[in-house]
């Protein structure tokens, strides 16, 4: 019976997420109808765009990869009571480190991949650990610190890429990485008819499993969650609050760094300057919809991946502008954030049904 109750609680989060998705799609439909388009054709092409061919599915997964890692980063920080709004900057630095390695270091492929992943992990972790340290030692709010770190990363890239990694033709982006130095795998590209899917996807899946394991099964996760839920109690119990804040931001940064790796050396193979990657913020939505649960993040990133990669196709085939997909995401976030209302709604439905059943029994 107890097991069932626990399942009921986590399935509640699932129902809430589904409700939010449904209402998000409904909101999108209303928007499409209001600009005179047929919502059904709109959605048909939106999902078709993400899923119609093996190549498209591969690209959807490649898009989802970055979102999954960023979402995991934000979710992990949430679990420990921190708001990591600096995933964009951590992505940039992780990506920069990886790009540097890709251009400068040549090793046998398996060892090379380990070095590549390690560099992105370290770069992101560094960018996360600085706000973590400021928060722990000087009580600087992590939202302020991570936003500032975003811009430090942005301008560092702006300077660093043209100075050291310039491509032959363009001033505004780095030279392309050789496929053999990227996360792309020829067998994978071939298997999926030339899609962008790369090793990053497997890294992301592994990260989901590892983070889930850390949070649920380890003493590290136990301490981090305690600090996140009630730092006063954690302090009282002898858990080092400040150290945990730093560790949490370090891991969150590392995950975002991996997102940068998957994006800059897998999905694309170069870095453009003057762009703060929007995935850093989309990751917040992914984490919210996934209820900060690693598995939830996995599914919500796949869903957002479909929307992101299908919106262009929808725009090409119908008169619906691609911003509709973004609006759907916005509505979903809105409803996820107000998820308390859903829980209450479903509770009431359940209660009514129970009452009716109880009443029926009495009559019999």
């Amino acid at each position: 019976m107890i097991k069932r109750k626990i399942r009921a609680r986590s399935s509640n989060a699932f129902i809430v997420a589904l409700s939010a998705v449904f209402l998000g799609l409904l909101g999108g439909a209303v928007l499409m109808a209001s600009i005179g388009s047929n919502p059904f054709t709109g959605f048909y092409y939106l999902f078709r765009g993400g899923l119609m061919s093996i190549e498209r599915i591969g690209n959807t997964l490649a898009t989802a990869t970055t979102l999954m890692l960023v979402g995991l980063s934000v979710a992990f920080a949430f679990k420990t009571g921190l708001f990591n709004i600096g995933a964009s900057g951590q992505m940039l630095i992780g990506g920069l480190c990886a790009t540097l390695v890709a251009h400068k270091i040549f090793l046998p492929r398996p060892i090379y991949l380990v070095v590549l992943v390690g560099s992105a992990l370290l770069g992101g972790a560094l960018w996360g650990v600085i706000p973590g340290f400021l928060k722990a030692k000087f009580n600087v709010h992590e939202v302020v610190a991570t936003i500032m770190m975003n811009w430090i990363a942005y301008w560092s890239i702006y300077y660093f890429v043209p100075a050291y990694l310039k491509g032959p033709s363009l001033e505004t982006e780095s030279a392309s990485i050789a496929v053999s130095q990227s996360l792309r795998a020829p067998w994978l590209t071939k298997l999926l008819n030339g899609s962008y899917l790369n090793y990053g996807f497997f890294i992301a899946i592994a990260a989901v499993i590892i983070i889930r394991f850390i949070l649920d099964k380890t003493t590290l996760g136990f301490g981090l969650k305690a600090v996140g839920s009630n730092r006063w109690c954690a302090e009282y119990a002898g858990i080092k609050v400040q150290r945990n804040v730093i560790i949490s931001m370090m891991i969150a940064g590392g995950l975002a760094g991996l997102a940068g790796l998957s994006f800059y050396t897998g999905y694309s193979r170069n870095m453009q300057i003057g762009i703060l990657p929007s995935q850093g913020f989309d990751g917040i939505a992914v984490a919210l919809l996934g209820a900060s649960n690693p598995l939830g993040v996995l599914f919500s990133s796949l869903f957002f991946g479909i929307l992101q990669s299908g919106k262009g196709f929808m725009n090409a085939m119908t008169s619906v502008p691609p911003e509709i997909a973004d609006s759907i995401i916005a509505v979903i976030i809105y409803f996820t954030a107000t998820s308390v209302l859903f829980s209450r709604f479903w509770d009431r439905v359940r209660r009514r049904r129970q009452d009716r059943r109880a009443g029926g029994e009495e009559k019999e």
Binding site: K217, T219, S229, W232, C233, Y236, G238
Partner: protein, 505 residues
């Protein structure tokens, strides 16, 4: 005389718990009717149903003989039912008048003058002594409560529900409140008083409905029923108000505090060269008025506040500058003053809360991996042994437990660990008779096992009941340490005001 309120055969179920099981409450016109029950017995649920905050699964509510449906608090207000909540619902920077008319402003243009005149008249009529133009944040807690009462009167409520009204009041304010309740009844109001304090029921109530674990136990005439009879009805067995304990057999010194100085939040010396020792097998109580350095002293001993000077030694280990975990390891157990802020992670399960101090070492975990089997076993053991009642066992969230059960969980955790020294701060604050009795007996049992217990309490009764020796603290300094058997409440009371025996007069 008829019944103003009848709640007949009320049933209310929450996931895993039947909060009210076929409970009936009948309140006569013009009486003070007490509802007595332990924390978590279902008193508040019953009242929330009457007030429209919850809906009963079954049963009927009648007001003056007519069956009614109360869907929300507004319905309750329309029926003349008003409630003074335990936590006041006032806007701090509004005046009394503004708070009272909030939600009942009437027409578009506020007529503050008219409203405040009416409030002044009501205050006069019921002897509430409230100035309608005062700002809420400037008045005392007792006065704020009277503003809540005025709020109900302003809305023409004639059935008033008081939810644990004395929990936040000083003894003098409680006297005043009792007088006010008498005035209200004299003017024709009916009162429902929710409480677990027997003395207050005896002092003010006419009849009393007793609830235990969601079930109606009985209705008694207060005048004809002894306090101990009501207590045993509430708890379900005879209750002893005196703690049963044998003389202490003190052994070696466990806690030694030497010339301890600690800064308070204002960066002034909150504890001044405090010296005290607690031996194995004895309970030392620290008596003092709240705010005389108790918090700083305890936080310094438990490692939550840095120490300016002096030393703290536990069982031979100098822990003056050790971190909290090291102190746990040398055997410092701590039942904290604020159980919800410090003692528990409310949104975590009992399973996690029980292990929060020890999760990092074997057998709770091995090489960084939690040992779920042992954790489950351990949590189940603590919950069973300390009779922590909850809806979903060890997987209940700590925040869903009643106050008494939360405290039992903390006591269980701290006693089950290896605490050579147990520090208990206000261990029974806000708890009912049954839980108090239980926790007291656990503290004494811990002492009898040869451990040292340091007790801090603002209630002299508790200090005298439990302690073998009493240390009195005043203004951050130790006044004196006396043996409980060789002193009395009056002498300790004087010391709490800083007057040492033999001085003054």
């Amino acid at each position: 005389m008829g019944y103003v309120i009848e709640m007949l055969n009320i049933r209310k179920e929450f996931p895993g718990i039947v909060a009210n099981d076929d409970v009936t409450l009948q309140v006569k016109e013009g009486e003070i009717h007490a509802i007595l029950g332990e924390n978590g017995a279902g008193k508040s649920t019953l009242m929330s149903i009457l007030f429209g905050l919850y809906h009963a699964d079954r049963g009927t509510i009648k007001v003056r003989g007519k069956e009614v449906r109360v869907n929300n608090p507004n319905d309750a207000n329309d029926l003349g039912i008003g409630m003074v909540h335990q936590h006041f619902q006032l806007v701090q920077n509004f005046t009394v008048t503004e708070n009272i008319i909030l939600g009942k402003e009437g027409s578009f243009f506020l007529d503050r003058k008219k409203a405040s005149k009416r409030i002044a008249a009501l205050s006069q009529q019921y002897g509430l002594n409230i100035d309608p133009d005062m700002i809420i944040e400037d008045i005392s807690v007792g006065m704020q409560q009277r503003v809540e009462i005025l709020k109900m009167l302003y809305r023409d409520a004639n059935i008033l529900i008081f939810d644990e009204p004395t929990a936040v009041l000083t003894p003098q304010e409680i006297e005043d409140l009792i007088q006010i309740m008498r005035n209200l009844v004299r003017e024709g109001k009916s009162i429902i008083l929710i409480t677990h304090k027997l003395a207050e029921i005896k002092a003010v109530a006419d009849r009393c409905t007793v609830i235990r674990r969601g079930k109606l136990i009985g209705v008694v005439e207060v005048a004809d029923t002894s306090v101990s009879k009501m207590a045993s009805m509430m708890v379900g067995r005879p209750v002893s108000f005196k703690v049963d304990k044998r003389p202490a057999q003190p052994g070696r010194v466990i806690l030694e505090v030497r010339d301890l100085s600690v800064l308070n939040n204002k960066r002034l010396l909150g504890v001044k060269e405090f010296t005290l020792s607690v031996r194995a097998g004895e309970i030392v109580g620290i008596a003092g008025v709240d705010g005389n350095g108790q918090t700083e002293l305890i936080e310094a001993i438990t490692g939550l506040r840095p120490i300016e000077g002096g030393a703290v030694i536990v069982d031979g280990n100098d822990i003056t500058h050790a971190d909290v975990r090291r102190r746990n390891e040398v055997g410092v157990g701590h039942i904290p003053e604020d159980r919800q802020k410090r003692g528990l992670v409310l949104e975590s399960r009992l399973y996690d809360n029980v292990a929060i101090k020890e999760y990092y070492h074997t057998p709770f975990s091995k090489r960084g991996i939690l040992n779920e089997e042992y954790l489950t076993e351990y949590a189940q053991e603590v919950v069973d042994r300390f009779d922590v009642r909850s809806g979903e066992g060890i997987y209940s969230l700590a925040g869903k437990l009643s106050g008494g059960n939360q405290q039992k969980l903390i006591v269980g955790r701290e006693i089950s660990g290896t605490s050579e020294l147990l520090i208990a701060v206000q261990p029974t604050r806000g708890l009912d008779v049954g839980a108090i009795e239980y926790i007291h007996s656990q503290l004494v049992a811990h002492r009898d096992k040869g451990h040292a217990v340091l007790l801090v309490s603002f209630e002299l009764d508790e200090i005298f009941n439990l302690s073998d020796r009493i240390a009195v603290i005043f203004n951050g300094a130790l006044v004196d340490v006396v043996e409980t058997g060789k002193t009395d409440e009056e002498r300790v009371g004087l010391m709490m005001a800083g007057i040492k025996a033999g001085e003054g007069r």
